[in-house]
């Protein structure tokens, strides 16, 4: 099934024309409403009239997460406050979250693209669908929620937490679809088994998984243990939230909602646009966004773009799996974590050497973060109570900055490996699986 064949199966020529028209309009809009972009364009001696087709996009400036941070909170918002009806936020690296305001039309577009995703997964009005992303500032919960409502299926806003109750609801309400992180899906499977139940006791058929990187192996394991078919759901809050791209039943890349989010792949070092098929950094331009439209936003996600009509009939460009990041961001339990956040906390505490190592792992299907720090010689104390207090103080400060709990491991001075040049601060054991 295809939710919006007019857009999802548009011919490439029509799509090119639509994107060109929308880009022209977008550039004119931000030029007149976002001083940040007007200044950048003026510096580049660029006026909105210079953008005639979508191919002219290479003339436009890039936008980075740093730009959003520097212009916190509302610097890149183009719509007046009176038009903004909702705000979401994603975690920031230095304490400032990224604030994204949505107009009524933005929310309508979001529900539209989410409905496209769900339809591609095989969800219909007859389904009962559990949204198990966190509800709140995070875009996952509410983003998926309104998509399900727009589609007309029954939404069960379970959010996260209380997994046993959730499983009883899945069983008793005969829930057929679920949106959550892949690691939460594995946790659900484990809890289901602990409760003495199996996939035979539930009716889950479709899983929409995203918000963190996952592998084919995880897909097979989740499918096997929950008895459903798992689909990729991609999105990022700066661009919209979940719904930017989605897998169809062919599962050969994720179709990008190209009429709203124009994708490019660039070389992260030279910033040159790369041809389709080459691996590089994914960049999005929000062709229709009103609240906080972004030109050429650098996602830092590394992947490839594929063209050609899919067997499902959709014509949109597809993106391959995210194979890595061009920065050092980690996604731990769905939360963005930058090593620099940990560093800034450690540097503020005189008890520790400015050396640290983040060890990320997945234990019982839940991501874990261990922060190893070296205790400064002068701060070593024979009193264990004081040592534990030092450890707790660091744990508390990290929690408030990262929004997730980290396990602290106090190390002897000099024991963390010093590297020449660029410091290695992360050991991610999860990808090995």
């Amino acid at each position: 099934m295809i939710w919006n064949p007019n857009k999802e199966c548009m011919s490439r020529d029509e799509m090119h024309a639509l994107q060109s028209k929308r880009l022209q309009k977008l550039v004119t809009y931000v030029y007149h409403n976002t001083p940040f972009y007007r200044n950048k364009m003026q510096e580049m001696d660029l006026s909105p009239e210079d953008i005639k087709t979508i191919d002219d996009i290479v003339k436009l400036p890039f936008t980075t997460k740093q730009d959003l941070r520097d212009n916190y909170p509302y610097g890149l918002q183009a719509a007046p406050a009176s038009e903004i009806v909702r705000v979401h936020a994603s975690s920031g690296t230095t304490g400032n979250p990224t604030i994204v305001g949505y107009t009524r039309k933005d929310l309508a577009v979001w529900s539209e693209v989410m409905a496209r995703c769900l339809t591609a997964y095989g969800i219909t009005r007859d389904d009962t669908f559990s949204v198990s992303y966190g509800y709140g500032l995070f875009t996952g919960g509410l983003g998926a929620h309104y998509g399900v409502e727009n589609l007309g299926a029954t939404v069960i806003p379970t959010s996260t937490g209380n997994t046993e109750k959730h499983i009883r609801l899945i069983r008793d309400l005969k829930i057929t679809g679920i949106a959550c992180t892949p690691s939460y899906a594995l946790y659900l499977a484990e809890t289901l088994e602990k409760m003495g139940l199996s996939k035979k006791d539930i009716s889950l058929r479709v899983g929409a998984f995203g918000a963190e990187p996952w592998t084919e192996n995880m897909r097979h394991e989740i499918e096997e243990r929950l008895g459903l078919k798992g689909f990729n759901l991609y999105g990022l809050s700066e661009i919209m939230g979940p719904g930017v791209s989605y897998e169809c039943e062919m599962q050969n890349g994720s179709h990008i909602c190209e009429d709203h989010f124009y994708p490019e792949i660039i070389n992260p070092d030279t910033l040159e646009q790369l041809p389709y098929g080459e691996q590089g950094e994914l960049v999005f331009t929000t062709l229709t966004k009103e609240g906080m439209p972004l030109l050429r936003y650098r996602t830092k996600d590394l992947c490839t773009l594929m063209t050609g009509e899919c067997e499902c009939g959709r014509t949109a460009v597809r993106m391959g799996r995210i194979t890595g990041r061009s920065d050092d961001m980690l996604i731990i339990r769905g939360i963005n974590v930058f090593p620099s956040q940990v560093e800034s906390v450690i540097l503020e505490m005189k008890e520790f050497e400015p050396q640290y190592m983040l060890v990320v792992d997945r234990v019982n299907n839940l991501d874990t973060l261990q922060v190893q720090v070296e205790v400064r010689r002068d701060f070593f104390n024979d009193d264990i109570g004081r040592m534990l207090a030092m450890k707790k103080m660091l744990a508390d400060r990290l929690k408030s900055v990262l929004s997730i709990a980290a396990d602290i491991k106090l190390m002897e001075p000099g024991s963390i490996e010093r590297s020449q040049g660029k410091g290695k601060h992360v050991i991610d054991k999860r990808i090995l699986k």
Partner: protein, 136 residues
Amino acid sequence: MTIKQLSVFLENKSGRINEVAKILGQNNINMHAFSMAETTDFGILRLIVTEVDKAVEVLREASFAVMLTDVVCISCDNVSGALSTILDNLTEAGIFIEYMYAFAEGNSANVVIRPSDIDRCVEVLVSCPCSVMNKI
């Protein structure tokens, strides 16, 4: 009447205690007593050694985090009830013991005590049926 105890910060990693023992051995420093306090990720090795200043020096050279702590060391009869009699006096005097460890040999037992108030502790102990040691 107090003794300098050597405290060494150690990660929970196999071979670490041996590293300390090896360095002390190579420098002809003898250990009279030691105890290991451990948490889930680190431990504190507490030692009474022959040449404490030299021990600090050689361990620091080998990058260990070390510190000296004042402790009281007593010698009492190695018979049942002896320790309890002594501790009764400390309890009465309101002295709290942060940690202690002991080693018995033949007729006498040596006890290392880290009290909350070391001067007061020594004061109480000198009038107890034990000897407070100046050195081991």
